[in-house]
Symmetry: C2
Subunit: 166 residues, 2 copies
DNA sequence: CCAAACTATTTTAGGGTTGAAAGATCGGCC
DNA sequence: GGCCGATCTTTCAACCCTAAAATAGTTTGG
């Protein structure tokens, strides 16, 4: 770009410089920043107002969608965390009486875990507040942003999953 | 809102049902999923190919942008993690010879930390691979997605920051 | 000058998280 | 029946992370 006259248009495509992916990198960093900010907000408020940690809330959110409970392995996969992590989380939540472990009806290796009535009640309360916090955090989006982000992120999710499964 | 005939257009705005913010919630969950997937990919590859953890890579990335080094406090703010966290990360990276701590020239409370030549060299290697991984993960985006996501996330970042600073 | 307020860092206690290895069970196949 | 590979869970060591308290140094207003 020094030897010949540089093109003056503000073309942002990187196709001309193979191996340059600064734009993708910038997008990734921005994605990371947004997630960290929202996550920090939610983590702080969950602790201050409900005395609960974000991972425990996340686990309860999964169980809330499965009234009959689910196995530890299923929890692990849906939360995208390791098996051992789930073991510990369930243990601590069980001590607090928020969840209970039951022997799996047919598979003696597995255990199903589900919310206790108390767990269901307290999750409902937290979930309502959580939804309001997210709405508050997202209130500054432009009108078309929500569907646009949904679409772009759907394609990103798809794209990343193709890489991971190789 | 319920008493008169409902509008039949597929308006997705939630303004009609006050208190309903399911769409924002869905967007947040999708954002979280995308971030977790990419982060997992990067974490795994950094470990497998370079034997380094993601937090250490992140810290080195910050230092790489500051040739003269920066204070622990500045690192903590830019990485959006706690002070104590940075103390430990720097300690471990220093043991490996990737970073070095120097007394701050004017403020005896503070310490500046910077990459060693070895740290700079190994970061450069990792950063090149990292950029390629991100490009690979983002390759399935549609043509207009990149700028659209950049814009939407910029507004989201702005929006969240207004909430947090209250 | 100096005390109070503030800033930079470390320490501590309590979780959260991973990857790998080990134990237990299941299921199919011979 | 009995073996073998796959699956479910736990355990373990090492690391990451936070919030809060403690330590040390700086700044500011009187």
């Amino acid at each position: 770009m020094d030897t010949h006259a540089p093109t003056l248009d503000a073309e942002t495509k990187a196709a001309e410089r193979p191996g340059d992916h600064k734009e993708e990198l910038r997008l990734w960093l921005r994605l990371l920043t947004c997630t960290a900010m929202v996550e920090g907000l939610v983590r702080t408020r969950l602790r201050e107002r409900f005395g609960v940690t974000l991972p425990r809330f996340d686990l309860m959110a999964q169980l809330d969608k499965a009234p009959d409970g689910m196995t530890l392995g299923a929890l692990s996969r849906r939360m995208m965390v390791s098996n051992g992590n789930v073991t510990g989380l369930v243990e601590r939540l069980a001590v607090q009486g928020q969840v209970e472990r039951l022997p799996h009806p047919t598979d003696r290796r597995a255990a199903t875990v589900r919310l206790t009535p108390e767990g269901r009640r307290s999750f409902a309360e937290m979930a309502a507040a959580h939804e309001a916090w997210i709405a508050e955090a997202f209130v500054g989006l432009a009108p078309g942003d929500l569907p646009a982000l949904m679409g772009g992120l759907a394609r990103l999710k798809q794209s990343v999953s193709h890489v991971r499964e190789r």
